[in-house]
């Protein structure tokens, strides 16, 4: 499935390496920075980052409350990426189960699922997210569930389409003949045919969900302070753009780098596996 590392285009290699470095830094943030991301230090507010004449102690400077920007970027990315990742998995599982069962069993369940899929396709999910945020309040679990509603229909649609053609294959018929249960058929014989598509789709959807989550936090209706997230750091830093631009520029660059790397890898995978179904 994966060709050798050397054959990858240079830009994809760079993206993979960068992404690995960033993910490792986010996961092992505790060992990389001595500072607590939420600890304020009013004696040392808005210190410049190192490349703007700052000290080595605070590599990316400090924010308006003296908190270390570098550690806040890492811890903030942990929350942002976590929400996006869990939301992604939630949406993917929902779409996958719906697509598998709708395609395999057909009948009224299939028609109902199609209705749901078309409904979700015609209404931008951010509208539902806004309603959800008002009703359930703004907390991390709520955000994860709401992000799970993002683009589940893409998984459901593709899975359903693939199942419709896969279930006519001879090996599936054979499995039915020896009385395999639907669960076994779906899991052992049909799912492997869907897997590649799902992986590509997840990779392509990840940056989209990340951007939605960061946008919400940016305008202040995502995760609430004091918990740092990337979007919210950009948002609060916006008030200090004149005196301390690094407060919002540092997390902004982090968002763009993560989104670009994943997106580029996803696009490469789409070409590589020739998944034409996934053309947007």
């Amino acid at each position: 499935m994966i060709k050798s590392w050397n054959e990858l285009p240079l830009l994809v290699k760079v993206c993979v390496v960068l992404l690995c470095v960033m993910v490792l830094a986010v996961v092992f943030a505790d060992f990389l920075t001595p500072f607590d991301p939420d600890k304020t230090d009013l004696m040392n507010t808005t210190l410049s980052p190192i490349f703007m004449g700052g000290s080595l102690e605070h590599v990316l400077g400090t924010d308006e409350l003296g908190r270390d920007v570098f550690s806040r970027v890492l811890y903030g990315a942990r929350i942002s990426l976590g929400i996006a990742l869990f939301g992604l998995l939630l949406g993917c599982s929902f779409g996958l189960v719906l697509g598998l069962t709708a395609g395999y069993f057909g009948g009224w369940w299939d028609r109902l699922s199609l209705l749901f899929i078309n409904f979700q396709q015609s209404i931008p999910f951010i509208l539902f997210v806004l309603v959800g945020l008002v009703i359930f309040g703004r907390s991390i679990p709520v955000l994860i569930v709401l992000m799970g509603m993002a683009r589940w229909e893409t998984y459901a649609k593709i899975t359903r389409g693939l199942v419709l053609s896969l279930k006519k294959k001879q090996y599936v018929e054979a499995a039915k003949c020896y009385n395999a249960s639907p669960l076994r058929i779906l899991a052992r014989y049909i799912f492997p045919g869907v897997r590649t598509y799902l992986i590509v789709l997840i990779t392509l959807n990840f940056p989209l969900i990340l951007l939605v989550e960061t946008s919400l936090s940016f305008v202040g209706i995502g995760v609430q302070p004091p918990t740092a997230t990337l979007g919210q750091m950009v948002g609060t830093g916006k008030n200090y753009l004149v005196t301390a631009p690094w407060i919002s520029v540092a997390p902004a660059i982090m968002i763009v780098m993560v989104a670009y790397c994943i997106q580029h890898i996803g696009e490469h995978m789409r070409e590589r596996f020739d998944v034409r179904l996934l053309e947007k």
Binding site: S122, L127, V256
Partner: protein
């Protein structure tokens, strides 16, 4: 027949949104508990519930809700204490103006650059532009806004950072909606790809063979035949600009629906959010319906077979 069927689907979809909001809202119990999170005097909750029919069965409540909606009664904003319809429509114009400019520029830019990139395919500049586009595609509107603010408002001091009264106020919000994930880039990609795809068709070879030149072939034959997928993409961009402006408006304190909606989510002003979301959903549904009609105008075969995209 085709149009009636599509209209029916549009109405059903809007009804679906209504049902969804109703179920969502009732999941957490009484809306008054949300309105007054600190609690109320004993007996007051029951009193309110009875007044608004919340003590009745869910079926009855839904009928009551539908009846109010059909009468255009969406209630008062919980914060501003005046009808939500009034608030919404007084601000819709600003959002519309912003969105219209963003769409206009995106489409013009998208089609011109898309055609140019198809014509000069393989050129080093086009390749560079391609990389720049995929990089920009990962930049969300608000990040773009931060950088534009830094450059044009705070360093060069030539553009205003907040509000929306003069033409200069439009520049940055429109730019954010046109350049980032929403806007021109998806249109450019689609125009180019679908022209390149049409170029491999037989009738294009015939056109080239009769000697009208590559550029003429692209403009007269390839571009026209690639209109349908491009139309679809433009409608998607329209919806993206609409939802994107929710975030962008707030960034530039644009006095439109986006700012209002974000503020009311913050204040948990349920009635206002409910109405705005309903209206935005209706606009999106309308855009899709108009698109279906446009398909038919562009390609009359569709009425019989349905679009091929």
């Amino acid at each position: 027949m085709y149009m009636v069927k599509k209209a029916f689907i549009a109405v059903i979809t809007l009804f679906g949104v209504l049902v969804f909001i109703f179920i969502f809202a009732r999941l957490t119990g009484s809306p008054f508990e949300i309105m007054y999170p600190d609690g109320m005097a004993p007996g007051q909750l029951e009193q309110y519930n009875a007044k608004y029919g919340l003590d009745q069965s869910y079926g009855r409540q839904f009928v009551l809700y539908l009846k109010n909606v059909l009468h255009g009664d969406f209630g008062d904003s919980l914060n501003e204490r005046r009808p939500v319809t009034q608030i919404f429509f007084s601000r819709a114009g600003e959002t519309l103006k912003l969105g219209a400019w963003a769409l206009f520029i995106s489409v013009i830019l998208g089609i011109t650059l898309g055609v140019l990139m198809a014509v000069y395919q393989g050129n080093i500049l086009v390749k560079a532009a391609d990389h720049a586009m995929s990089a920009l595609y990962a930049v969300p509107g608000f990040v773009l806004a931060i950088f534009l603010l830094l450059i044009f408002s705070y360093s060069l001091r030539i553009l205003p950072s907040q509000g929306g009264s003069s033409p200069a106020h439009y520049v940055m919000p429109v730019a954010c909606l046109c350049i980032g994930t929403t806007g021109a880039i998806p249109i450019i990609r689609h125009v180019r790809n679908s022209i390149l795809e049409t170029l491999s068709q037989d009738y294009i070879r015939t056109a080239v063979a009769k000697g009208i030149g590559k550029k003429n072939t692209i403009l007269r034959h390839a571009f026209r035949n690639s209109l349908i997928p491009v139309l679809t993409q433009i409608s998607i961009v329209m919806v993206d600009i609409l939802t994107g402006s929710l975030i962008i408006e707030r960034t530039f304190s644009w006095p439109g629906i986006g700012t209002t909606l974000v503020n009311s989510v913050m204040n948990r002003d349920f009635t206002l959010v409910q109405f705005s979301v309903l209206m935005l959903a209706a606009v999106v549904i309308l855009i899709n319906y108009l698109l279906d009609i446009l398909y038919m105008v562009v390609d009359p075969r569709i009425e019989v077979e349905g679009p091929k995209t």
